[in-house]
Structure formats: C-alpha cells, structure tokens
Symmetry: C3
Subunit: 254 residues, 3 copies
C-alpha cells in the first residue's frame, strides 16, 4: 500500500480490514502513507523506488487520488511480475515505465467493489477490494474493459550537455536528502572526486561514493540506493541547510 | 489496535511482541496509534468508523487510557461478530452503540495478564495478552465478572429543527476535513445543491456529492465515507482555511 | 525492525519487500522507525525496552546507521532466545547487555546480501536479507567471521550516594515522559511518598505509584513499564512543562 492517507486517522486501517475480510491470508505491507496530500509525483516516485524490492506476485495499491469521486478512471495493470492498482492519474506511471505491460483494465465491475461505493474513499471501496480479489486469483479481465493508454507523469528528464549533465531535484526525503533525476546510467564518471555539482549554476559540492567521504556538516552528492544522484550533508539535513527545493536545477560538470 | 501511543517509541511494538508470543498466527492490524494523547472521543470515533470494515472474528484493542493505573475498569465486550477490548472509559462506546451486546466482562483474571502488571502500560500487560488469549479461543467469561453497565461517551446528537438540521463538528482528519455529527440518515435531501451549510449561523458552503463539485480552493460539504456530513475544501485544508474546530455549531438549511 | 528511516519515504517498505521475497512466511513487526535520525542511543534504548516482550526466535533488525557506507562493521549476535542484527555502532549493545552472548559474527558473506549493495542503504541490501536468511534457518556462522568485541554505548550509570541516588535523563517519549537511568532495582524505597526527585538540585516532584497519585497538571515520578524511574506530569507533557532534557541530572532523596 502506498497512499497519502496518513496514519493519524482510520483510513489505512479500514483498507486493511477490507482486504483481510476478502483475503484473510494476504500479507499487507505499507510502503508509506505519508505522501504529501494529493502529491501524485512524490507518490509515483516512492512507488517506483520501492516496487522492485518486492517479490513476484506482489499487488501494489497506490492511492494518491485527489480526483476521487470525479470522472478519473481506476485501473489495474499487470506487469510481468507484479500488478499495480490505483487511479489513472499518473501515480502508477513511474513504476510502469520501462517494462512491458501485460494487460491493463479499468475497474468498473461493481461485483468486486465494497458497496455502496462512497464518493470520497475509493481506497476502501474500490482499490482495496479489487486488490484482495486479484490476490485470490480473480482474473484481471473481469474487473472491466481493457485500456490502451493511461496517464503518464511528465517528469523532467536529465540531459547530457556539452559540459556535463543538466537535471533537477525531484524528491526530498525525510533526512533532507535531495534526489535528482540524474541516474547512475547517465553518470559513467560517478564517484570521480573531480565531478562538481552546481545548483542554479553555483558550486554546491562534489560527487563521492558515500556520505562520509566529506567532513561532518559538509555537502556531498552520491549515487543513492535508488540509482539517483542524491545531494546530502554528511550527518545533516541538506534540504534545510542548503535550502534545496523540488525543481531546483542541478548541473554536473566533470 | 487503536491507541494514542504514537509510533515514535516502542510501545506499539511491545504490544505486538506480547500478542505474537501468545498467538503466533494472529494477524495484527493497526487502525491508528496517533489519536491525540488521552483523547478518548477521537479514539472512539476512529474505532467506530473503522471497525465495520473488519471481518467477523476481529478482536479490536483500543487503548486510549489516561486513567491507566487508577481505578477505572478494563473490559472486553463481545458483539455478534467482533470483540472489543479496552479500558471502560468510553473509548469503546461508539463502536458498541446500536448493536446488540452478547456479553461483557471485566478483565480481572491475572492468569491472562503479562505479570507483573506495570502501573503505566496496561496496553502491553493487560489488553494485548487478553486479546491474544481471546484470539486463541479462551472464553470471555474466564477474564472476570460480567458487567452490565459501562461508560458511554456523551457525544452531542444532531437534531432536526424547523429550518433544517442542527449539529456540530466532532472530528478533524489529517486532510483538514471536518466531520460533523450530521449523518446520512438525517439528510434525505443530501446532495441537493440548494442545501446550505452554516457555521455559527454564517453561510459556509453548500452540500454536494463530491469535493470536485466546487472549484479548487472552495469549501463544500459532502456525505463522506463514514456516513457523516464532512466539510472540506476542494484540494485544500478546510480546518485551517475555514478555522474549523471541534465543537463548532453547524446548521444545515434547505 | 527498529530504524530511524521514518515512515514518510519508501525505505521501510523496501526492507519489508526484501524480507518477504526471501522469507514469505516471516511476520515482520515494526518496533519504531521514528528514532531521531542518527540517534544511536535512543535507538538502543527503544530496542532494549521492547525486545524482552518478543517471543523466542525473534530476529531483531536495528538500523540506526549514520556510518553506513564507511568502515563500520555489520554484525549479527545470537543470544539464548533471540538474534540481533545491525551495524556495530552500539545500537544493539543495550539489548545485549546483561545476558549471555551465544555467538556473534560479522556480516561479510555477500551470498546473503542483496546485490549490488548500495553505499547508503544497508537496511535494504545487508540487514534485511541477512535477517530473512537467518529466519529461514541459515546458520549464523555462514554470515562471516566470528567477532569477540563490539561497540558498547557508554550510557551513564546511576549511582547510590549518601543522600539517595544520582542519575540523569536518558530518553524522552512522545508523551513528554522523561526516562531516567534510575531503575527499580536501585530503588528499594520506590513508591514511598516521601521520596523526592531533584532536577539539577532543585525539588521537582515526589515518587508515587501511578500518574494519578497527584492532581492533574502536577509532576510526579513513577517506576514505569520499562523498569526506569520516569518523570511525568499527570495528564500533561513533562518534557515541555518542566523543560526536561536528555542529560539533565536527577537526584532522588528519601
């Protein structure tokens, strides 16, 4: 489960109750419920970063759904190894990118919903019961009509320039580490101590192999665990110390 | 589990350790642990809203227990489909309301406690082990003497007036949505766009079917997923934007 | 699992995905993920307080690991009833204290890691998979060479003085209760209403058996559920009301 429901209220608990009522042997795992309310992009990034750690057969339910109750579609998408369930608003799209889609269907068959479906809580009434039924082997095709296209997030792409790589900050984690859209594949020289990181054109730090390569309190960029270049402060909070924000331009020069 | 223990410390983990030591096959589900410290009313509301999503045979443990260590009773209550365990301070009472109570017993039999029982953590030493034993089939009657009466929360009731319905705000969720005590049953005209919502006598918004029925940033009232009239702001935080507080009078006029 | 990863991001979810991929029948339990970032001492205290509530056979994974990626060791330690897995930086040491260590090994065998091992997320790539393999019966000795010594936290010890007991505050919980290093064993007179608690030499409160022994809003010290003398305010937040901080000297005089 990946949602923006938070853990202060009963919303996630209600989803789990519904799932376990239909699929008592399911193992329900939280990725996070603390995606900022309505922040489809952060939810999509978290889901994409986590989903490859989960085993074959996992059904991911992602509910960052500011359009709940309106006309947006609900979908379930089968990839080779996992199924993704959620609103068709882009929240699934980063997890789906780059792999072959086996089948995708709209969720329209009320037989697999919790009825009556509320207008404001499809996490409980649509996505949770559909995922539970899928986990018990109900065919994806029974959920509704096939869909060909679905909403993709227009995440900015990093690009190679004559001086290096130009990208931007796309996610801030709870430690204040800033994830950029510059990934390991773009960075054959990653780890070379001469690589410099610029933020808005001004020198920020160098690239190293781990946080402790610089003194405590100093900034550094590393290829983090998700394969993205992260800007960090050794033992500190880079986002607050360096005033980093999502969207800040980051340049890498060698 | 529904508690005010938070997730910063080890308290919930300790409860789960105790439960799984006694009932290794139990599935333990968190409703929430972020009820404001000692806020019996919010805990009771969250439990009542969530419990109907859980399957037959669920044992709910609710520990919002500011009187722990004093003379308040601990109880377990069997309803037709579920069992509720917690202090007898009202935290169970909204979940118990409106359904037939099959049996209710005080928790006094130390055989089913974790000994020695601390003065400050009955969640770990009384409620968790009792729930674990109940889940394994120990009879409720073995926990202690039968009880007839228990503490009920005096939650304010909404009432029909000559102009509409008079109620109040009883819960604020993490999105800033304000739940009122006006429920769907009281509201035959719910969804009619002419229904107006007043806060302290001043016009606040209209009733609609879902959040997006109004422009982004505008207030709206909807019958939410728990069956209560909720005041929301489309894409925003109604509690902060409209300065809503628990106890604010809400009137509905058609 | 006990970590400082927080629940805002996908880090804990990724660990669980890895564990369940290797050990699908494992029951994964959160102690807490909200240890302050890098606070080895609070993590060690939470783990030590919780671990004795867990059944025989439990494998504890504690990842408060500010030195991840540097040369610190990773270890797994078998006690009589449980196994502890984490970085060798002291985070396990309070849980290990006072019991016999059956075996301790460094984690060096990449066969039991998730490859390639990232530089920044050994929770996912080292500790989670090692714990999963151990839960399936892989011998501890296969993880790497035996270790004799490991890092112990220099937690201050309380001591008996001619006037009473001298200790200090070592942990603040989410309710604002201040845990001291004065434990029940040092306190034969605990619970005697004449015992006075001094903070930095000035009278703070008396010792009682439970919070409600004093009026609402008044400070009191009780032997809490972890066996430590806690300073609390009945119905309030002692840490903020009394401006208590970790390290504050606390004296007990009878």
């Amino acid at each position: 489960l990946t949602t923006d429901f938070g853990t202060e209220d009963w919303f996630v608990g209600a989803m789990k109750g519904v799932i376990l009522g239909l699929a008592p042997k399911a193992t329900v795992v939280d990725i996070t419920h603390d995606i900022p309310a309505g922040d489809i992009r952060s939810g999509a990034f978290a889901l994409a970063a986590a989903c490859r750690c989960f085993p074959k057969g996992t059904i991911h339910v992602a509910v960052i759904d500011p359009g709940v109750g309106s006309r947006r579609n609900a979908i379930a998408v089968r990839m080779r190894n996992q199924i993704f369930v959620g609103p068709d608003n882009g929240v699934l799209s980063l997890a789906l990118a780059g792999e072959e889609i086996v089948a995708a269907h709209r969720l329209e068959n009320e037989k697999y919903f919790r009825l009556p479906v509320s207008r404001t809580f499809h996490g409980r009434d649509v996505f949770a019961p559909v995922a539970a039924h899928l986990s018990r082997g109900v065919a994806l095709a029974r959920m509704g009509p096939k869909v060909g296209e679905f909403v993709k997030l227009g995440l900015p792409a990093a690009r190679v320039t004559k001086n290096g790589i130009h990208g931007e900050i796309i996610y801030l984690d709870r430690f204040g580490n800033a994830f950029t859209n510059i990934t390991a594949e773009l960075l054959p020289q990653a780890g070379q101590p001469v690589a410099r990181v610029l933020r808005k054109g001004k020198r920020l730090c160098r690239v190293a192999e781990f946080y402790q390569a610089v003194s405590a309190g100093q900034p550094v960029a590393v290829i983090g665990s998700s394969g993205h270049l992260e800007i960090a402060v050794n033992g500190g909070n880079a986002a607050s110390k360096l005033r980093l924000r999502i969207g800040d331009a980051i340049d890498l020069t060698v």
